[in-house]
Symmetry: C2
Subunit: 217 residues, 2 copies
DNA sequence: CTCCTCTTGTGAATAATTTCACAATCTCAA
DNA sequence: TTGAGATTGTGAAATTATTCACAAGAGGAG
């Protein structure tokens, strides 16, 4: 009696997944332009990778193209959505209604990627209440109740560094299994919880380093 | 007659530089706690890398530690500032005074990294004028003049995708040699111009992928 | 149906990055 | 001054990621 075969057992470079959003957006654009078929050459050029890297990246998830022809835009788009978990809406709750939290809450780019900010949380009672029609700032104590009610899956941590560990623990207690952490600290969480770190200054300091090195200050 | 020897000829992994901001912040903290000496073991633990990776990363820039003792916090901090080009202030101009641009302009974390936002630029005349005591939104046409006057080095592109290429060209014409691009497009620029791409959704889509894969949606 | 052209999919080769393991050498104590 | 204990710095090994190069189809023309 055959077991259900595991979805995918292949391992692939971590960087592969980080290129998928690029592919997704390129394909979205081709779709808008009513282009039905695209070659790895063409698409790779557009996103700035080599054609063989694009093909290799896709190959980890099956034979998604048509030999001799290219990739079917609509089909590949659907596959990539599936791979990135965008085939269903992901609901985010932002903890920390400071400047960073509010900016993220208002970011218009989430929608096209199947992401949705449904609530903010803060300890500061002065911030509690509706932000606009869609969005309310809740007391931090409502984390578990609202997660349940709104179906939140991802907790976004935009709190000061000193608070981050404590808040992460609250989020885990409240049932979150995925944290997107903007605070510049490593978090201690149970192994089943996934943490993604975001460090906004890395990019600009990389630039600064190149300026220093290339132009000697 | 000896030529001036080139500052550094070693090549190192690109990821090395992206770990330096982590080291920088850990060291800053040790400094505040009046810890004068720290081992690679201790510091690596704190930032979440292996001790040998930390030592290797630092070794590309010379022998920065003391065998048998560890790293001198103040000395290493100074060195890392130098490597990241933080030994002098870097001045940023943000092009695109939309939500993202304004959020970055108000980000309080830049200061401790030697970064300073000195101006915003926009085509929309409704946005022109002072934002607060420190900061003004200028017409895009003033890009070159203000870059010169304020000593701006890095242009931050927070404009819509469709505008990004054109705006990049304006920035290059205005004399910028470093672009930090938040628009999800690859930019065509002359080879001497450095572009750093920032893609805010990569992190959260990575989470989404892990959710889909680990918990099967 | 066959041939020719095109482009994918993928093992193998190459390149890049990380980890290992230990010699070098510093500190401190007696 | 010497020896014990600690921790760096770094070639070499191991691992991971990218690129190459070509066989395996797919599609279209005749």
């Amino acid at each position: 009696m055959p077991e259900r075969t595991p979805e995918e057992l292949v391992t692939f470079p971590k960087a592969t997944i980080s290129r998928f959003p690029l592919y997704f957006r390129a394909l979205t654009e081709y779709n808008h332009q009513n282009i039905g078929l695209v070659s790895s050459e063409e698409m790779a050029q557009k996103v700035g990778v080599t054609p063989s890297q694009l093909r290799k990246d896709l190959s980890y998830f099956g034979s998604l193209g048509i030999r001799g022809a290219g990739y079917d835009v609509a089909y590949l788009l659907a596959k990539i959505k599936e791979i990135l978990g965008m085939d269903r809406q992901r609901r985010l709750g932002i903890i920390g209604a400071g400047r960073m939290g509010m900016a993220l809450a208002g970011y218009s780019g989430f929608k096209q990627h199947g992401l949705e900010v449904l609530a903010l949380f803060d300890i500061d009672r002065a911030k509690w209440g509706p932000v606009n029609e869609q969005l309310t700032v809740f007391p931090l104590s409502e984390l578990a109740a609202q997660r349940e009610k709104l179906g939140l899956e991802i907790a976004v941590l935009t709190v000061p560094k000193a608070e981050a560990q404590k808040v992460a623990e609250l989020a885990v207690e409240a049932g979150f299994r995925a944290l997107w952490n903007f605070a510049p600290v490593r978090l201690e969480v149970p192994p089943e919880v996934i943490v993604q770190y975001e460090d906004i200054v890395v990019g600009v300091l990389t630039l600064s380093h190149h300026l220093a090195r290339k132009f000697g200050t």
